[in-house]
Symmetry: C2
Subunit: 482 residues, 2 copies
């Protein structure tokens, strides 16, 4: 199935060729050990020059996907895939709501992530090298010149109309009819989730979450005095709906919170029919769903995955997202569209933090309107995909036998299951001694069940230094495995 | 007592002359009906040209402070002061903690304040015309050019070190030893107070507040499920310490929250010895004090008032402030220094909203460092003082007999007690029909005891339009008084 080459830009074609080969491998059309299509044949199939194909093949060789054999051409690496197993689903016989309790470790993860001397595998943050700094800074400086008073004055909740209108337009492109008036601008998705939890639940209430869950969400539930009920989840397809059904039958769950698209840390992606079933199940019991879609725009496939809110017939899904993972984390531009809870969300926003920063609202609105954001996203998705693939391949070759690695179809983190005898906290402390940051798996559950898991951030372009850091990390883990 | 004229700039001298005359009147050295010093004499005393003195006198005449008599010179307006009474203290025999309940009115105040067609007496917000837009925008654009990556990337709590260091320096100038590490940057003072309340109290707890209290604080207490206990306060000297002592003896108060300097709405300023007594009293019972000092830099007198934290020997005062009233509301730059509660505040900030916007942290830090902020403040204080004085004089002449007006020594709002038969909500709705915004007094208490009070924002330079709007407001109120 030839793919359309949509632009003339060389880097775009080159990416397309790599993606095409990766897709053939993913679908099993090309198996490890087999010969890749010849340069000449692929050039004719894809209508791309032989030199571009050659460049793409060399880059795939560099990533360990292909192996060049003299006089014979390129072959799919024989070790590819067969050694890379994805983490096992964890099924717990019974589930109990838990008080979340964490120590110092949370703050440490952020502290070490602010330290440029520490290899950047810890916090889930994109490298600024991948962000459209020149274009966004230019837009922001332009806004400051053209609208100084609007930049300096309050922009009270729900936030600037222009930004809300642009976000509404993006929902429309996803098939959702959400007006600008139903959107509230927030200080990142973190504040959006805080407002959502405060609106639908209170101290002592049980919040169902998938497992593993991003540790900052667990921390938020802890601070608000609520209880986290961890529902079994599949590493590929997300929350297990039967487990949720069982939990709903036996417990008084006040709300559910999850990341349907590319969950942090395990990268799970709920199939559309699961999202539909989930929303129907929760709606049937009048339980609100808070979804966090910060990674939804970072899909590796050909189509953006849908959001749970799309399947919501009762206006009971509160959908949160942000531009923090895709454009500029420090701009703190997030939002929430909360259906029937809109008025209450607005009251909480007004009362607890009032207006959000004006400059960024105006600048991001203009960046979206001009089409620059979408062009940037298409480059960013390719970069993240390549970075994740490379890390995945390196880890599969360097880490101890028995290591399993998530196979995310979007986002930029990997979830790595180490042999059971390795404790992730030992990995964390040993790595930190060598100025390497990772996030230990135990942070992603209140039950500490991910003791032999670690999360690896791949949000940065690979350099010799980061490659060496990953090699050293592997050495440390292999030593712990002795 | 001659005053030093510090700069050569004409407008500065001119302001100094006006201030000098106002001080003489305030201290009773010049009484209503008396003759003001002659141009020649004052020129010689202050070492300022006669034409500057003349300009200053004409502007004071314009504001109703002086009256020119042909061939005789300038006289202090005979009606000045004698007709302007300040609001009466309200003493309630017993106090009860209350659930705060407000309707739609809160959001309306913000909505009408965003409407440029409505006369701007409603929200307590400074006009952007008074803000150093050119200088601050230039600084912000410079930061974007010089530090694009830092502007785009996360700046995790506690926030940027440079800004925290500048704030620490300001505390040092006030005689407080607070290090940058004890300060957390927040989304305005509103978020600072949210973090403070969440840190020291929980749902159902009683929070003592002064009365009247800024309605957003009451709203915040409501949203957090806490109870507001309103302590009697004096319109000039703030919270009545004996009343607080009585309340502490009879009720389980978890924390106190107040604005020691230029309380919004009544402008009360706690004398330093009262602050000292208050902190000692609360410390003796191990009760934390949350103080909001957003107006402290906007003093009309010669010296900045102190903050309660200065008198804190137990590290139990949580001091909040921001640059929203003094520099750029839309920059959302607030902070908190919370003494013994620092770690918990930091956890709350990290969990509920994570990083604050980066651009503004860097820009404000530079604006402070360069000395531009302090130069701006000295102009701003004079402008607010003149605007407040003018409003006060106009209201005293135009509003019904029996009207009492606060006499704030800082800030930019007036608190107006109307004859008892006038309901502030009627004033609010009648005024809004004529596109005039005011804030009804009932919002400043959970007990609705300020039914015949209104708050007037004076944060804007007077124009013909705003003067006419105030005249029309007076006509409406006089009609309601019939």
């Amino acid at each position: 199935m030839p793919i359309a080459v949509k632009t003339d830009q060389e880097h775009f074609k080159y990416d397309q060729v790599s993606s095409y080969i990766m897709q053939l491998i993913d679908k099993g059309n090309l198996k490890p050990g087999e010969r890749a299509p010849s340069l000449r044949k692929l050039s004719s199939t894809l209508k791309v020059s032989i030199s571009t194909i050659n460049q793409a093949y060399l880059s795939l060789e560099d990533k360990g996907v292909l192996t060049a054999r003299p006089q014979s051409g390129f072959y799919i690496n024989a070790e590819l895939n067969q050694a890379i197993e994805t983490p096992k689903p964890i099924i717990t016989a019974c589930c109990q709501p838990r008080k979340v309790r964490f120590g110092q470790l949370f703050e440490e993860i952020f502290t070490i992530s602010n330290n440029p001397r520490v290899a950047p595998f810890a916090a889930a943050r994109p490298s600024m090298d991948l962000m459209p700094d020149k274009a966004l800074i230019r837009e922001t400086r332009g806004i400051l010149s053209r609208q100084p008073a609007a930049c300096m004055d309050y922009c009270f909740p729900p936030g600037h109309q222009k930004l809300r209108a642009q976000i509404a337009l993006r929902y429309a492109n996803m098939g959702l009819s959400i007006s600008a008036d139903e959107i509230i601008i927030t200080n990142g998705a973190t504040e959006a989730m805080t407002l959502a939890l405060q609106t639908v639940a209170k101290r002592g209430d049980i919040i169902a979450v998938e497992s593993p869950t991003y540790f900052s969400v667990l921390r938020l539930i802890e601070k608000l005095g609520m209880l986290a009920l961890e529902i079994d989840s599949h590493p590929k397809t997300g929350v297990d709906i039967e487990s949720l059904e069982y939990a709903l039958d036996t417990m008084d769950i006040k709300a559910m919170l999850l990341v349907p698209n590319f969950n942090n840390p395990n990268g799970s992606l709920m199939p559309e029919k699961n999202k539909d079933q989930l929303v129907e199940l929760l709606n049937s019991q009048e339980i609100p769903l808070i979804e966090d879609d910060v990674y939804g725009d970072l899909y590796f496939g050909s189509e953006r995955p849908g959001i749970a809110k799309y399947y919501d017939t009762e206006d009971r899904v509160l959908s949160c997202a942000s531009f923090s993972k895709t454009l500029a984390p420090g701009y703190r531009m997030g939002w929430i569209t909360g259906g029937r809870y809109h008025e209450k969300l607005l009251e909480w926003k007004q009362a607890t933090s009032s207006a959000s920063a004006s400059i960024q609202q105006l600048a991001v609105a203009e960046f979206l309107r001009s089409g620059q954001y979408d062009r940037h996203l298409s480059r960013l998705r390719k970069a993240f995909r390549e970075q994740v693939e490379k890390a995945r391949f390196m880890i599969s070759r360097l880490f101890p036998e028995g290591t399993r690695i998530s196979d995310p179809q979007g986002g930029f983190v990997l979830w790595v299951e180490l042999p059971r005898n390795i404790n992730c906290y030992d990995v964390y402390t040993d790595a930190l001694e060598h100025n390497i940051g990772i996030t230990p798996g135990m942070l992603f559950s209140a039950t500490r069940k991910f003791k032999n898991y670690i999360r690896i951030n791949c949000g940065f372009p690979w350099t010799d230094e980061t490659e060496k850091a990953l090699e050293q990390l592997a050495t440390l883990i292999n030593e712990l495995n002795k």
